[in-house]
């Protein structure tokens, strides 16, 4: 991460500085919002351009950033404290519970406060073929927030990024290049624009990725309410290829999200044909052949060297959370980058000292996340531990919220509402382990008695 023609001490933003943000998804909008707010607090006048060619008010792939669209409980709370209260026009459905489905049974788990604190959203304006635009795009809402705070939206695709006199320069077709004091990459791992940052030659390498499968199932608002309610449905099924599956109720649609290896349309059909899954749907329901679907990439490892002098990458083009809460990671990295740029400086050293710790914390936490999901993969193949989980969760629903250890472990794991490290250490608590062991032994005992009879 070498310096580019400027001394560290000169690499700071001042009044009149120009900042470019490539990508107007949550990471780019959060960064712009916080940078402009912090600048205002220290009486700094910054000119900020956001490059985003997508129109989020268009339904279907053209306006969508391809994501399951769940805003975690912790992020909903933090955003409210920040003064960003997600309006009902953007939130498709408030979630207050989840239903855990396994081969041996299902159980519902409510939030401790019986309150809607998880939001399901569409990143764009809904699936392809949506008849009536009743809700607004989440990405569009955040972008409008950034613009309302003074960001300038450039609705063009970035065709090139180069260095010019030690400053990064953005090229768009038909316009002269624009040099910036600071350039922010917030394009996400699904955008070809990410490759432009690799060409800047500061040793940046994109994160390793894996594909997920998302498809939209149309039911209409009434059927979504009666069939799925305000619950996310999570499946721990012993199916080859599949790590994790969830049904996420929205307004008129339910989003099916499958994480695993080589998930294709054929696998989706076999998943929907599984007896446990079929129970969730009306008897005569079938997947529409033209249902809107996508196979977006998501990060499984960190990017390398996501910053240099005057350049920084945020959101999942830098470091994000494993399997869950990508929007929460976008918020955290974007805010850390904005604070560094305004209060510390914009050199690689500044980013290393003040921005990188936020990324490192996410990265370290992901190690625990990988352990937890590996444990879940193992357990779902084993009959009696699964029985133990189910028995423990069912019994806990009669207890006080503070005494629902297994339910909260699963809740936090599936919703991304807590740090993986916290979840991991909760599972090692002697009381948790003892209760899990007792329930598992009871399951074995009851099964053997059934066999004897």
């Amino acid at each position: 991460m070498q310096a580019r023609g400027a001394e560290d001490k000169r690499l700071k933003l001042d009044s009149g500085s120009h900042v470019g943000v490539v990508g107007g998804g949550p990471a780019g909008s959060f960064f712009s919002y916080f940078l402009l707010r912090f600048a205002q607090r220290v009486d700094m006048d910054i000119h900020l351009d956001i490059y985003e060619s997508r129109n989020f008010s268009v339904p279907g792939p053209a306006g969508c950033n391809m994501c399951a669209g769940v805003i975690s409980e912790s992020l909903v709370q933090i955003l409210a404290v920040e003064g960003i209260n997600l309006p009902p026009e953007v939130v498709q459905r408030g979630i207050n519970s989840y239903v855990l489905h396994m081969e041996m049974g299902s159980t519902i788990i409510y939030t401790p406060l019986d309150e809607m604190r998880i939001a399901t959203v569409y990143r764009g304006s809904g699936p392809r073929g949506v008849q009536q635009l009743k809700w607004s795009s989440f990405d569009g809402y955040l972008l409008e927030l950034a613009v309302a705070n003074g960001a300038n939206l450039v609705r063009s695709r970035v065709s090139g990024i180069t260095w010019n006199g030690g400053k990064p320069e953005v090229q768009i077709k038909g316009k002269p290049p624009q040099a910036y004091d600071l350039l922010v990459g917030a394009v996400g791992v699904n955008s070809p624009s990410l490759g432009l940052f690799e060409k800047l030659d500061f040793q940046y390498q994109q994160p390793k990725v894996r594909r997920t499968f998302i498809t939209e199932l149309e039911f209409g608002v009434d059927l979504v309410r009666t069939q799925f309610g305000n619950s996310m449905h999570v499946f721990l099924l012993n199916l080859p290829k599949l790590d994790f599956a969830s049904l996420i109720p929205k307004g008129d649609y339910v989003t099916l999200c499958l994480i695993g290896t080589d998930i294709d349309r054929k696998f989706v059909e076999s998943f929907l044909d599984h007896p446990v899954v079929k129970e969730c749907f009306p008897a005569d329901w079938a997947l529409a052949p033209d249902a809107c679907h996508c196979s977006p990439k998501f990060s499984t490892a960190d990017a390398l060297h996501p910053f240099a002098d005057r350049v920084i990458l945020i959101g999942d083009s830098g470091v994000t959370r494993f399997n869950k809460d990508g929007i929460g990671a976008a918020y955290r990295t974007a805010k850390a980058a904005a604070m560094t740029a305004i209060f510390e400086g914009i050199s690689a050293k500044d980013f290393q000292k003040h921005y990188w710790p936020a990324c490192r914390a996410i990265s370290h936490d992901n190690r625990f996340g990988k352990l937890i999901f590996a444990g879940a993969r193992l357990i779902k193949k084993m009959r009696y531990p699964l029985y133990g989980v189910l028995r423990m969760v069912k019994k806990e629903q009669q207890r006080l919220a503070s005494q629902r250890q297994m339910s909260m472990v699963l809740w936090d794991m599936f919703t991304g509402s807590a740090r993986y490290r916290d979840i991991f250490f909760r599972t090692l608590h002697p009381y948790f382990l003892a209760r899990f062991l007792i329930e598992m032994v009871l399951a074995i005992f009851l099964a053997s008695r059934r066999d004897t009879n």
């Binding site: 912790s74 909903v76 709370q77 404290v81 209260n85 408030g94 406060l113 604190r117 604070m339």
Partner: protein, 123 residues
């Protein structure tokens, strides 16, 4: 857009927090209004009316004290609770998270100063 409402909905006059109780969360109003009252000599005095976007209950999070006032829904009100632990952990990692709360507290002190000055001027 009923499906997209976050938080918990309280009907008119329902108590959200009660003076004297121990508090383990604060609240952000999502929609509607709430009134803040305090008991003085067996009389209930209305201190303030808060609206969407306002925060209440934060004082019990910063000190280990009980709720200093009762808060009720004024008409139907929707309120999002913020866990004490979640909030304080967030502030520990990112102190700027408390900036907005400090701004509001600062505004309240200004309002109280103005009120004290007005009362003293009356004497």
């Amino acid at each position: 857009m009923e499906t997209g409402r976050l938080g918990k909905t309280y009907p008119d006059r329902e108590v959200i927090v009660r003076e004297g109780e121990v508090g383990d969360c604060m609240f952000v109003i999502q929609a509607g209004h709430v009134e803040v009252t305090r008991r003085v000599d067996d009389r209930e005095i209305r201190i303030a009316v808060l609206e969407a976007g306002d925060v209440f209950g934060e004082m019990a999070l910063f000190g280990q004290e009980t709720r200093s006032a009762t808060v009720r829904a004024l008409g139907e009100a929707r309120v999002l609770s913020i866990d004490k632990r979640e909030f304080l952990r967030g502030v520990h990692k990112d102190p700027s998270l408390a900036f907005r709360i400090l701004q509001r507290m600062s505004q309240r002190i200004r309002d109280l100063d103005a009120e004290v000055a007005r009362l003293k001027a009356r004497d």
